[in-house]
């Protein structure tokens, strides 16, 4: 049982992958550790419970990864997706440390899948958790409890009292009761702020009311804001978030993977006026998947509709809600409350602009439109075979980029570049140092694992030295 009357060596804020890696590492180093999770036990694990894999460097095939994925290629991939919004030193350190991430996790109860079927074949670069992220979270909690980490659920760390570059105390609300806890070292691993609609509204205005949050509602960014307010260095564009187009019928929070839609390259996407607004076939879907959240967010009412015909139905992964089916475009428009005439005309003009070509959904094929604005540059086929299928789309927010600055020891930096003596950060709260823009599948879990371990180790060392003084 947690005993808040005695100071802890290490206080870990948050209950996801990064927090667990930090808590386990610190405990293994001999520290007395308290992990504070805002969510109830059943919903513990932050966004990690929705993840599926982590990206790991490796020089030869392993039991869970095929072929090889060297540092140079990994770094290239990261530089490309971030467009340079990264710190090369931190990034390369993370990439190198990722080489031992799967073995470390396996030794602490996490199980990986031998290989993967399905549409995205990532088993060369990414190790897949057997049972997904919640199974990983379960395994880590079991290990943490076995090692003797104290865990508090339903408990939010509301603020940290920082004085003279030192965290003196943490203010908690535990099952609604106010508490205070002292700890020699503190690890902030409480995620981004994507679950905080009010905060999103500061940048997106009322449009944020129409955003769906793909992950946990407990990522409210309370400690992130608290630290920034107390002068911590900030990284990442506060206005930016990773957003994909998901099924508009998804729950407001925690819809996770099943609400994703992969139909866009095989159809057209219209706004609520029934008009197209972007090239649906610009590039291979994994490369364009993450731009559609923003595109939909920019449309009036933050809503769009993807329309495919019977030819395309089997080309993409099934999603959780059945498509709206209709015998004609006009009927589909009526179901969606769109102007039937406009939608019929959009489809007619699109179909007329489609040029002959050889369709191949797996490569950039030569099926394109001519004389159409915006064009569809690949996989353009006439939408003419009933039944017609429609999916309503809304922006689905995965995570935010804003974070606190850290050094290579995961120590939190102040705006003047000097560190807070006893505060470390890991996971989404600092991921913006490395992933300042864009997205690389499984990289969030890699950052969380690598920085969680560093933060846990450093926090434990600091606590040990301090207690010896």
């Amino acid at each position: 049982m947690a005993d808040l009357t005695r100071p802890y060596d290490v206080l870990v804020i948050g209950g996801g992958n990064a927090a667990l890696c930090a808590a386990i590492t610190a405990r293994e180093a001999g520290a007395r550790v308290l992990l504070v999770e805002h969510a109830p036990r059943a919903m513990r694990g932050g966004n990690s419970r929705h993840t599926r894999n982590l990206r790991a460097m490796h020089s030869a095939p392993t039991s869970v990864l095929t072929d090889a994925y060297a540092e140079a290629e990994y770094w290239d991939d990261l530089r490309r997706v971030t467009g340079g919004a990264t710190s090369e030193a931190l990034a390369r350190m993370t990439i190198r440390a990722s080489a031992e991430a799967t073995a470390w996790a396996e030794a602490r109860g996490v199980r990986f899948q031998p290989s993967l079927t399905g549409t995205l074949n990532l088993s060369r670069t990414n190790a897949f958790f057997l049972g997904g992220g919640k199974a990983l979270v379960n395994a880590y909690y079991r290990t943490a409890e076995r090692l003797g980490v104290d865990v508090l659920y339903d408990t939010e760390v509301q603020s940290l009292v920082v004085e003279d570059r030192r965290v003196r105390e943490a203010v908690l609300s535990s099952k609604g009761f106010p508490e205070r806890v002292r700890a020699t070292s503190v690890v902030a691993s409480s995620g981004g702020f994507q679950g905080n609609i009010e905060w999103l509204k500061e940048y997106w205005g009322e449009a944020a009311e129409n955003f769906l949050i793909r992950g946990t509602p407990y990522a409210r960014g309370r400690i992130l804001r608290n630290l920034l307010d107390q002068g911590a260095a900030s990284v990442g564009d506060p206005t930016q978030c990773h957003a994909v187009a998901i099924d508009a019928r998804a729950p407001r929070f925690d819809g996770g993977i099943v609400t994703r839609l992969d139909c866009i390259p095989f159809g057209i996407v219209v706004d609520r006026a029934g008009k197209r607004f972007y090239d649906e076939g610009e590039d291979l879907w994994p490369k364009r998947y993450a731009i559609w959240g923003r595109l939909v967010a920019q449309q009036p009412g933050q809503i769009a509709y993807c329309i495919v015909d019977a030819k395309a139905e089997r080309l993409f992964m099934p999603s959780v809600f059945p498509a709206i089916r209709a015998g004609s475009i006009g009927e589909l428009a009526r179901v969606f409350g769109l102007d039937a005439g406009t939608l019929e005309s959009t489809v007619k003009h699109f179909n007329a602009a489609v040029q002959p070509g050889r369709f191949d959904g797996h490569v950039l094929d030569d099926c394109a439109t001519a004389g159409l604005t915006p064009p569809k540059t690949h996989w353009a086929r006439a939408i003419d075979t009933p039944p017609f299928l429609g999916y309503p789309l809304r922006p689905g927010i995965t995570f935010t980029y804003l974070g606190v600055g850290v050094d290579e020891c995961a120590r939190v930096l102040m705006q003047d570049g000097r560190p807070v003596e006893n505060l470390w950060a890991a996971g989404e709260i600092m991921a913006g140092n490395i992933l300042g823009k864009g997205y690389l599948a499984g990289f969030g879990m890699t950052i969380g694992t690598v920085f969680g371990r560093i933060a846990g180790r450093e926090a434990a060392i600091y606590a040990r030295h301090t207690s010896h003084q």
């Binding site: 109830p40 059943a42 919903m43 419970r49 929705h50 599926r52 199980r111 899948q113 031998p114 993967l116 079927t117 399905g118 897949f128 958790f129 057997l130 049972g131 997904g132 992220g133 919640k134 199974a135 379960n138 395994a139 909690y141 079991r142 729950p251 925690d254 996770g256 993977i257 099943v258 609400t259 994703r260 089997r314 992964m317 099934p318 999603s319 959780v320 809600f321 059945p322």
Partner: protein, 371 residues
């Protein structure tokens, strides 16, 4: 293609769960259910029935599920599929008018057990002289002093052959009702046999089942093996004993070191350990992924096997005393009840799961060829 309209609550639940699971697929490494699901986009009620019987109830998917309660999707696949499995047993039972026996199955199996024992005790008490019934008999043919050979054989033959016919009829109805495509070849049979013999799908992807919480354990798999192989050894014991009596003219009781007794002893111990352990897990298990209204079915059947095994072992130990007559009546009462209820008890799970594994072997082979 139109999906057959789901009918029951369990069927609707399963249909909804498959929509979620097939869009997620995080559990695909756990067992055969998920790869089988991934071969489909629409789920007819026959597909759902098949998947329900393919599920071995290891519960790994429940604890790994990001959509499990209290998530609003409320996915609880082990419970949903257990409910649907139970509907299968009723739907495909033969003869159809006995299907209702599955509805209050705990009561039915308990009553059958009580009646079986009572019947044997009554008949032996009425038909046999107390001096014989409570006497000490060691000579060959001792058991037949309590119950005549002809009675034992004719009752056993009648009940057992009826049960076999009913079980086969159920399996055939199930197969015709849920499977399409070619008749399974030798490879499919072999694959299904290995799956049954090893309970590969009770492995949760390698580390076993979940019982009380998120932790994995192979215990339930080993307990089921003890029960399954114990049952097989007891069956072998009976077969060998029959051969001794009718082929070699040697009458029971056989010496402790004889093959029938050795097989029966090891088998009986296996069944005892297996059922006792499984009962413990039923009691201690996390009720959340369980199917509460099926507990009666489970408990009654497991208890009946336990009772059969224990009375057999006690009979073996005390066969040279005056208690032999009564113990034999009780033991044979249990065996009679077991044979009679077999097609209308939890026993059928093995039949339908075997059929589901066979179908799975066929379709995975086909999928492999096509890819």
């Amino acid at each position: 293609m139109r999906v057959t309209l789901p009918i029951s609550d369990a069927m609707q639940d399963a249909s909804r769960a498959m929509q979620v699971c097939n869009a997620c697929r995080y559990c695909e490494g756990f067992c055969a259910v998920f790869p089988a699901m991934e071969l489909r986009r629409e789920f007819a009620s026959t597909d759902l029935t098949y998947l329900a019987n393919l599920c071995h109830n290891c519960r790994a998917c429940f604890y790994a599920c990001q959509y499990a309660p209290p998530h609003e999707f409320g996915i609880n696949l082990p419970r949903t599929l257990a409910d649907l499995r139970a509907e299968t047993w009723e739907e495909y039972a033969w003869p159809g008018f006995l299907a209702g026996l599955f509805r209050r199955n705990g009561t039915v199996v308990s009553l059958a057990t009580a009646l079986g024992i009572a019947l044997l005790l009554l008949l032996t008490g009425l038909l046999r002289d107390p001096a014989v019934l409570y006497g000490v008999h060691n000579a060959p043919g001792a058991f037949y002093l309590v119950i005549p050979s002809w009675a034992m054989i004719s009752v056993a033959a009648a009940t057992f052959s009826f049960s076999i016919v009913a079980l086969i009829a159920g399996a055939v109805r199930y197969w015709k009702g849920t499977a399409s495509g070619p008749f399974p070849g030798a490879r499919a049979w072999w694959r299904a046999l290995v799956d049954v013999a090893t309970l590969r799908n009770l492995g949760g992807g390698g580390d076993g089942c979940n019982e009380q919480d998120e932790g994995f354990s192979q215990a339930r798999r080993w307990l089921h093996h003890a029960l399954f192989y114990g049952f097989a050894l007891c069956f072998a014991s009976t077969t060998v004993a029959a051969f001794y009596e009718h082929g070699l003219g040697r009458l029971s009781p056989f010496p402790f070191a004889s093959l029938p007794v050795l097989l029966g002893t090891v088998g009986g111990l296996g069944m005892t350990v297996g059922t006792a352990g499984m009962l413990w897990f039923k009691i201690a298990a996390d009720p959340e992924p369980g199917a509460p209204h099926l507990l009666g079915t489970d408990f009654a059947f497991i208890l009946l096997i336990l009772l059969t095994a224990v009375t057999g072992l006690v009979l073996l130990v005390l066969r040279a005393t005056g208690a032999m007559g009564t113990l034999l009546a009780v033991h044979l009462g249990c065996v009679l009840a077991l044979f009679v209820v077999m097609p209308y008890s939890k026993f059928v799970h093995g039949i339908y799961r075997g059929a589901a594994l066979l179908r799975n072997a066929v379709e995975q082979e086909t999928a492999l060829r096509e890819s």
